[in-house]
Structures are given as structure tokens and as C-alpha cells.
Assembly symmetry: C3
Homo-oligomer: 406 residues x 3
């Protein structure tokens, strides 16, 4: 029992060989220095391994567009061209519209060409279930008297949309401004931040415009600038529509004052991967405004809207000193310093003058043969312990000399 | 000073025992082999530990629904049944409506049964502040002459919505198609991808329909197929409404060509956890269309819409070779190879024939008693170094023999 | 060849020194105990390092608001004050409106003061391109006869919005209820959960109201309670508008039954960082309702809506036992136990009585001089191996004695 306790509190440490050699010693210290530099420079300072990080940023975005656009001599305001109107993080500025007024339910001929051209009813019946027309195909071919070609009849809202009635794109979008209010929260540290400083006055905000260098914290963005940063042409974009991403990135080191936790803005064209593809370029959608005549009859105005969609994408992470990751990484650093021995052992035991002598010093050899020999010996001389250990010692010396002889 | 420098450049390496034993040697190599296989096979090849990963995929989704539905002999088009219309990543296809036309502000009796049945005013006053009626309860009971039962009066938009006036669900939703344009970006690697190949022509896209095997990259999805993949019945879904998730998963290995970075689609019913619950099955919402009479009086059409809501959920991660994680994991691999010794030491020192002999070789023992003895001895013979070391050597031998005697 | 094979299956283990010292032994075991406690208590039990985790929760939210509000003696229902109506995870309850009826396209004078006050046309021309007016500035100054001051003319929708026509805020929002249906999925484990228990009956749900202690799983939230939890005043909020976050947090330990995977709700004011800033407090947006006269003339009602926006933010992670992380962390634990020796070696070799003796035991010294000496010696007596090893042995003893002499 007592033996077990004393055994338990025995301390085991490795036996080491100290090699007093300049070359290996210097290599060893240089390797250790490199490892220390890597840990201090990269792991601790650059990667901030002493910090606990929070990547699950909670974000809330409010936007407000300002500006007036001209289209067919009419002035359009925010309520006309921004959809959806509630100032969310994703919104569209409608730049070009194809308006089909006074649609009522009924039957009429398809307009858009070359779809649904027909010479007889049979040709139209082939289009049953066609999703690309402006209404459900009835299977009848509507032809002017004596004409050889006609258009298939559709059922739905009539008259059908005519792409040729497209209005001019509203390039005044260039002068519009977007005000972005973004508040974020890092739930792990319970830190909340807004995208413009508290001390910014109403006057300052109303006068400023975002500029990456001159006013990187102004929350008002001119559309012209955004398009410039992304290298887009306003005429092409207003004509076809498109998607622009406004990325707000929060990288916060909360070991400093919260005041230094500021947003960084970047801009990109989100539908860029489809730019080269002839299919479905740009961005458009259809919506309708419903009206009622006094007699209760429904009619509507169908609008096909080409729009620039703005997506405010908020990403972020925050870090703050924490004991646990610091401890873990310090332990990792200390154990890694020992890794220099791997390289130095290779040098010492292979490439140094007298490598075999170093090997003899570092390695003690014991073979099964010796053990068996000593076992049989010990069974003979159980009472005399001293000779046995001497024997062991001798055999060790022998094995060393053998090793040197190799 | 010089002694300090030479000491500093001393190289310390562990002294090792080489055991020339087949059994332990083979076990050792097998354990090392397993560790190497684990690191190469699992950590490096399967988990791709040599890669830096980016999990913060930025995504932008555009959708477009096509198709015509019939309801009460009327043809409905996209502008009628898709809400919200702007083609966002979350949209509803309205499949069943309860329309209450010509509502004006005023007072009238509640319609829906069995709520708000009453025999007298007192009973109605108990419903003050009830949120489930179609308007604010006024506290009056409206009864036909001589009737024993009536309905409480409400204030708000009249007449109240009558669930019995529900229209037939539009099962044509089955034939609708959803076109999904999804562009993603991995900000760490600045890689942008679209969900269909650049070389796909307009014609190909218009003709194809998504199929997991035959055309896994076609961006056009037939609603019928989506419902099939999720095991849903169109009649039940169109009647009650529901939520369908279209998951687009991007798992990209950017060590290969970007062309191989393709989306994988999967489909699920999002409100499945509530399927068994009798409460609030399906999905519906109310909205109103506002009209004005020529005299300026407001009236509205209230619509309770049961809808299938589609949520496009985009997830993804990308990996690319990076030196830092590769180095870290290689170091981890090399140090882990040494772990085989733990197991082998246990075998060698406990289960091998001659374990005690191996112990004697591996361990050198030193006890406080010896140290104290040598200390008192050294104080006596400070000048004679040789005997002292001999003494140490002897004590070592003694301790070894003691150990063997245990 | 055979020598290579036998060499390959040689097992190398470190030679150790067993120190039979109570003080160091106890320190060693205490350090090891602390490391074991850290790993079992913190890493395994608290941090659940034996689990694979899934942080990419997929979520789908459906909301439904109920309640009636009074404004200027009119009763407002859900279709009037909730925007957008489709019951998404982000929605607004409109609490205060500034309604500008019967706007038609044309020219008129700006209303809002002090903007665009003018004495002559030149002053107005300075405002060209001003985005803060209610329309595009034409550059003309409209003055009453003989008046010294006037207002600039604008082109757009007339009459211009007049802030003074603001209606009373609807404080009845306090009594509204919000029903939240949230279903989530952990894709890695394919686990789907809903935010209220399956066995909850329709009756229970209709009667309950969320309370953090009494009914933490009731999916119906009274706006009054939400405002209380966030410390907001309904009058201020209804007047200016604001953003309220409802955070649903799912932290699931899937080693237990899925039934224990429940949501936890928390509430916060999202635009809190802007509370102290005089600029753009609250939350408002503008939208228009378009009407048509029988003669086809468009007119609209412009609404500036102050609203409380509710953002349902869903976060979550799930963990489940997995062999790989368990193995990795157990290996890390076992190797870390050895770290106690670093501390103990420092104590043993520096602060213990007889530290030099311990050093002598732990370290064997070999210097380049010795190696060179033995090399030259061995070149002389290549045939006699025994003396050589003796020499080595002696030099070892010498170095030890030197070390002791330091």
C-alpha cells in the first residue's frame, strides 16, 4: 500500500543529452526563434489568437432613397420608383417601365413577336400550356381577313403587354442618394454599434457624401459613386436592370475602445457571373395596380419594371481578450518550441562530424537476446543481485560498441 | 559571460532507448501507420485540412415565376398571384383566396361562427378587446326581431369577411415554373459564381427543366417536381398553404477549376414540424386593395390569401490550398506520430517477457535519500571529484538493482 | 537489407529518470490533476468537445399580427397597418401616418419649412437638384402679391406633403399580439424543430401569452410585453417609429431527446445605437396608393408612415456526439498531461535542495572536443572496440563531474 503511494508520487522526467556543439546549438536556437516569431507575430499579433471571437453578427438595416427622376416629362419621386417602400436592406429603384394601361379580363391576341405566330388553329393548339405568352393560349388563331399569318388568341388580361411601348430609362438615378442606417450587435460581447458616429450632427450628415478616403463614415451614398466603384455604366444598367451589392464589413477589436469599431463599405455587381450570358441579363419584374370602375368592374395597369436592386450585405466579426484561448495557444506555442529538436536531431545524427559518437550518446540499445540472456542468468543467480546488474551494464556497453562498429 | 553564451548554445536532446524487439517494433510501426493513414486519409484528403475555408458565402437571388392559373373561370397571371412581386429569394404563390369586396368603414355584425354569438349586450361587452374578431367589438348585440340568438356588433371595415365565400384553390400551380438566378461570392477568395453555366444558351434554358440527374444545372424548376421531391400533395398544399424550402448548396474546392464549383439543389417542406399540430396549419395572410369613389370615399377589397411560400436558402463553403493550415496540420501529424510510444511503452513495460529488465533500461532512479547522502559526502570530499562521481554511479547501480528486486 | 528491416522495426522510447521525491512528485500530480480537471470539466463537459456542432441553422419564420387600433375615430385592422402583409420575419406596424390625399402631377409650392424659403427666383435656382424637397425644384419663387418672402416652386406630385397634417400615433399597438411560427433545421443532423410543442392544442395557443417564466414556449407575444422587456415607451416609439428585434435562439444538445431542443426568446431595440443621435431618429418610410379617375387621370394618396419594425432574428447551433472530435480531444488531453513536467523540471533543477545532483542525473553532457578526441583515438585503435567504449564511458563520467563542479 505504502509502496503504491510512494510509486504514485514518483516524478518521471526524460533523461537528456546536452550537446555542447556550436553548430547544432545555433541551428537549434534559430529554429526556436523562428517558431517563437511565428507564434508571436502571426498567431498572436496577426491572427489574434489570444482573443475570443464572435462571428454571428446581428444586423438591422434601414435605408432611405432621395431624389427626383424624369421620365416622359413626368417627375417621379421615391414613392413612385422605390419598391418595396419600407426601407429594408434589399430594395429596387425602378429605372425603366413598360406600362400596359386599362387591362381587363378577356380574350385578345398575343402581341409579342415572334412568339405565337400562326397560320391556323392547329398551330395555336400546339402552344397549349405555354408559359411564355401573356395569357393562357386558347388554341384559336386570330387573323385579319385574307391575311396569311396571324397571332394566337390568349385568355387573361387584355390587351397584352407590348414591349415596344417601353419608356425611356431614367438615368437621373445617377443623382439619387441612399441613406443607410445600420446597427449591429455582437451577441457574445453584447456590443451594439451604429454605422455613423454619435457626435455627427444632423447638418453634417445632410451635407456629406460617402467617399472611401475623405468621408468613410458618411452614411449617404450617391448612386453615381456606387456605380463608379463597381465600374458600371448607368445607361446600360438603367436600361436592363441589375443587382448592386453594398457590403458593410465590421471587423472589431474590442480590446480597444468601442469607438474604433467602425464599418468599412465595399461595392460589387452581384449578377456579374451572368454578365456574359445572353440569357436573362439584368433584372426586371412585373406588378399590377388594380382599379375599379364605379360599376365595380376590375381593371388594372400592368407594369414591367426594369430596376436596379440594391442588396445591403452586412458581415462582421469581433474579438476580445479571453483567458482560455490565450492559455491554449500559449501551451501550443511552448510545446511547439520543442519541435526544433526534430530538425536538430537529423543534423546531429547524420550530417555532423562524429555523428556515430553522438548516436552512441543519444541511444542506448537493448535487444531481446540480451533480455533473454539476463533472464536465464537471473534465474540461475536469484540471490546475487549485484552481478546481474553488472551484466546488464556490460551488455549495454557491448551494444554501444556494436552500434559504433556498424 | 562566455559561459552563459556557450550554455545558451547548448543543444538538449532526449536520451533514448532503442529496443530491438520484433513484437514491440511491429506494434509501434503499425500504430504509426494508422496515425499516418488517419492524417493523410481523413485529415488531409477527406477533411481537406490543407485548405483555408470560407464559410461566409454572399448570395443574391432573383426569381421569376411563369404560368397561368384558373380560378372561378378567370385566368390569373404572375402579377395576380405572386407576392411580393419583385422576384426576391422569398415569395408566395397565392393559391386560394377569400375575397371580401366593397368594404367601407362602419359598424356591422360579425360573421364568422361560432365566435361572438350573443343573446344580449352584456355578453358582447365581455368580448371587448377581442383580437380574433373581424373588427373592434362595440359591445352591442345585433339580433333579428324575435330571434333568441344574434351576433355581436363590430366596428371597422364592413361587411366582415365570410370564410364561406372561399374560392376554389388553384391547383394549376403544379404547372408553374420558377426560374432562379443565384449568384454567389466567396469574399475570402473573391470568387463569384452563377447557378447556371455561362455557355448555356437562351434556347437551352428556355427548354430545360431541372432534374437531379438529367439536368442538375437547369435553373428552371417545375412546381410539380418540387412538390414531388418533398412528398407534398398539391391539393392539400394549395388549399391550406405552406412553406417550401429550395436549398442551394455550394461546396467548392477552388484548388480545381472554378468551373467545377456548381450548385446542388434540395427541397424540403419548411413548416413540417407543425404538420401534426392542429393549430395554424398551412400559411395565409391578409392584404387589402384600396379604392376611391369619385366623391373621395375610401373602400377596399380585403383578400385572405392562402399561399405556397418558397424560400430560397443559399448555403455554401469554399476551400483553397493555403500554406498556414497545411504547415499547422503537418506539424500536428508529425507530433502525433510520436503518440504510438504511449501504447508501446505500456506493452513493453507490462506485458513483455522481461518487462522488469526493460524497465531497468528505460528508467534510472534517483531518490531524495541518495541526493542527501551524496550532498553530505561531497561536502566532505570537495577536492576529490572522481570518487564522488563513482559514488553516484554506484548509487545508480544500487537503485537499479533495488528496482529489479521489487 | 535484413539489417535495414531489423532497424526499421526497432522501437525507440525515451530514457527517463524517476525522481523519488515527495515534493516534486506531489507538485507533478497536482499539475496533472489540474490539467485533467480542465479537460474533463471545461473542454468535455462545458465546451462539449466530444460533439460535432452545426452552426448553419436554416430557419423559416411566419408571423401574424392581431389587434385593432383607433386613429381619428377610425378603426384600423391588420390589412391597414401591417406592411408588408405576407407575414414574413421582418414586418412593420404602422403607428403614425401623414396622409396627403389627391395628389396629381403638376407644379406647386413647397410646403415644408424652413426649406426653400425664397425672396426671388435666383434664390430658388440655387436649390436645383435639391433632394430634400417634395419635388424637383423648378427655379421659380412663388410669392403672394406684395409679400417679401415666398416658397420655391416644385414639380412633381401636388399638393406637397405637409408635416403639420400628421395624425395622432396609434398607441393601441400596445394591445396587439404577434403570433410567431418558426421552424428550423440543422442540416448536418437533419433535425427539424418548431417553436411550439406538438401537443399544444389550438385552445391553449389561443389563450396563452408569452412570459419568460410562466409560459416560455407560448408563440403569442403581446407588443406591450415586448416593449417592457426592451424598456421602451410606447408613446415615444409610436410617434417616431423604431426597430425591435425578437431574437429566437436555439441551442440544442441532440445527445438528449429532440424534445429538449427548445427556443429561447430575447428582445432588444435594434436602433439603440442611434438613440442619442438627433439625426434620423426612429423609423419611417413613404408609400403611395394609386387611383384613377373615370377619365383615366392618375392621382394618388401619399403616406408617410412612422412604424415599429419587428425583426425576427433566428440564431442557433446544435451538437451531437461524434467519434472524431472525441478522439482528437482525448489525444490532446493525454499529451497535455505531460505538460506538468515543464513546471516540475523548473522546480527540480533550480529550487530543490541538491538541484545540481538532479541535473547530473538528468543531463549527460557531450562536447565537440570529446567527440573529436574520441574520433582521433578511434582512428588509432580501430581494431580494439572495448577500450573505445570505456573511453566514451569515462568521458561521460568526466563531463558529469565537470558539471557538478560548476
Amino acid at each position: 500500500m505504502w509502496a503504491f503511494v510512494t510509486d504514485f508520487f514518483t516524478y518521471e522526467t526524460t533523461k537528456s543529452v546536452l550537446v555542447k556543439s556550436w553548430s547544432v546549438g545555433i541551428v537549434n536556437r534559430i529554429v526556436q526563434l523562428l517558431i517563437v516569431i511565428y507564434f508571436i507575430g502571426y498567431v498572436f499579433l496577426y491572427e489574434k489568437a489570444y482573443q475570443e471571437t464572435d462571428t454571428g453578427v446581428e444586423s438591422s438595416v434601414m435605408t432611405k432613397v432621395k431624389g427626383f427622376g424624369y421620365q416622359s416629362n413626368q417627375v417621379l419621386d421615391v414613392a413612385d420608383y422605390v419598391y418595396p417602400p419600407q426601407g429594408a436592406g434589399v430594395f429596387c429603384i425602378i429605372t425603366k417601365v413598360i406600362v400596359t394601361d386599362n387591362q381587363t379580363r378577356g380574350r385578345c391576341e398575343e402581341v409579342s413577336s415572334p412568339y405565337l405566330d400562326c397560320a391556323n388553329h392547329t398551330e395555336c393548339q400546339a402552344f397549349y400550356g405555354n408559359n411564355l405568352a401573356n395569357g393562357a393560349v386558347t388554341g384559336r388563331c386570330l387573323k385579319a381577313l385574307n391575311a396569311s399569318k396571324g397571332k394566337c388568341e390568349i385568355q387573361g388580361w387584355c390587351p397584352a403587354e407590348d414591349v415596344r411601348l417601353s419608356r425611356e430609362p431614367m438615368v437621373d438615378v445617377n443623382n439619387f442618394t441612399i441613406f443607410i442606417k445600420n446597427s449591429i450587435r455582437f451577441p457574445v460581447f453584447d456590443v451594439t454599434r451604429g454605422n455613423f458616429p454619435e457626435h455627427m450632427t444632423s447638418k453634417e450628415i445632410k451635407r456629406c457624401t460617402y467617399h472611401p478616403v475623405r468621408s468613410p463614415l458618411c452614411p449617404i451614398f450617391r448612386v453615381r459613386d456606387i456605380l463608379n466603384y463597381t465600374g458600371q455604366d448607368v445607361h446600360a444598367l438603367a436600361n436592363k436592370g441589375g443587382e448592386i451589392g453594398i457590403n458593410i464589413e465590421w471587423k472589431c477589436n474590442l480590446d480597444w475602445d468601442e469607438e474604433f469599431c467602425k464599418p468599412v463599405y465595399s461595392f460589387s455587381r452581384l449578377d456579374a457571373p451572368f454578365a456574359k450570358n445572353p440569357v436573362s441579363q439584368g433584372y426586371n419584374f412585373r406588378f399590377a395596380r388594380y382599379y375599379k370602375k364605379d360599376d365595380g368592374m376590375d381593371y388594372r395597369t400592368l407594369v414591367k419594371a426594369h430596376a436596379i436592386r440594391f442588396d445591403i450585405l452586412v458581415t462582421g466579426n469581433a474579438g476580445k481578450f479571453s483567458t482560455i484561448p490565450t492559455l491554449i495557444n500559449m501551451v501550443a506555442a511552448f510545446t511547439s518550441i520543442g519541435l526544433g529538436t526534430v530538425l536538430c536531431d537529423i543534423i546531429l545524427l547524420n550530417f555532423m562530424k562524429g555523428a556515430d559518437q553522438y548516436k552512441a550518446k543519444k541511444f542506448e540499445e537493448v535487444s531481446e537476446a540480451q533480455i533473454e540472456a539476463s533472464l536465464s542468468h537471473s534465474q540461475v543467480s536469484q540471490l546475487s543481485l549485484k552481478p546481474e546488474t553488472k551484466n546488464l551494464c556490460d551488455s549495454g556497453a557491448v551494444s554501444l560498441s556494436n552500434d559504433l562498429a556498424l
